[in-house]
Symmetry: C2
Subunit: 169 residues, 2 copies
């Protein structure tokens, strides 16, 4: 079972996300993370989906997706791409020592402190999954009160892009 990153351009309409996620769930794929946002063209949304599963079955699902009327283009990102995600981590820190320890960790990971209360510190961190896992690992001894991750966004390096008609060129 390999981890796959799928990039999709779709029409920005009600029901499209439902149809796309339905195709994956009917084949037994569990979507590990998903990010959906509009593109430079507000009529078009871009989805990035990460999932684990069999390569052969995934190829079939991608073919089916490419046939859907609301789907403009589907590509698996396989090599020479950049990936990023964002996490908000709310950590327990109820005394100055704990607070400064959490802030030090944030500093090392070039993360930002975006909220502080008497009992908590909230960190914003950006990176690949490995980096985000590493910072979570460093702060979890304080107790994680809340964790919200965006899911991965990924893009080919250089001038390649996911565009209609282009064979991922």
């Amino acid at each position: 079972m390999d981890l796959h990153i799928i990039g999709l351009l779709v029409e920005n309409k009600p029901g499209v996300l439902n149809r796309v996620s339905g195709l994956f769930s009917r084949r037994g794929f569990n979507i590990e993370s998903i990010s959906v946002g509009v593109t430079e063209n507000p009529d078009i949304s871009r989805m990035t989906i990460t999932l684990e599963g069999d390569e052969k079955v995934l190829e079939q699902v991608i073919k089916q997706l490419n046939k859907q009327i609301d789907v403009i283009k589907v590509t698996e990102l396989k090599e020479d791409y950049v990936e990023r995600e964002l996490a908000l981590i709310k950590v327990n820190a109820s005394n100055p020592d704990e607070r400064s320890e959490v802030m030090q960790v944030a500093d090392v990971f070039r993360a930002n402190i975006i909220d502080v209360s008497k009992k908590t510190v909230t960190i914003e961190v950006t990176g690949d999954q490995e980096k985000i896992d590493a910072i979570i690992d460093m702060v979890k001894k304080h107790g994680i009160k809340e964790l919200a991750q965006t899911g991965v966004v990924a893009m080919n390096r250089g001038k390649k892009s996911i565009k209609k008609g282009e064979e991922n060129e």
Copy 2:
């Protein structure tokens, strides 16, 4: 039509995203952005959904969602919360002047350059929707080759969190 931010804790299982997005699309809500990632507990995923629509209808949908077996907790984030998203923006820049102009804009927005090719520069930027819209606006004259946004993640300030059983306390 107001913009709403909904935070959900759900079981990390195939089909859950499909059921949640189905509930919204059947009521005619268009999901503007969605982010799904695992939480500190790998059996539980957290979704953040932004959508436009009628407050009354939304309240009904939230009640229905809270009754779903795979849904642990649903809350609308209304006040005193932080929101962030991440965007990757690939911009055309085929000469040194263009390239340095794009890099200057990135600098002003405290964005990172994560890839450079002979014809493009790729920017990673984090912030609220307003900031991301502003940087897109600044670089679009060069031509945006590709734009991938994560969708919003949001969290209550202070010690409040979305937890089962807690009335958003």
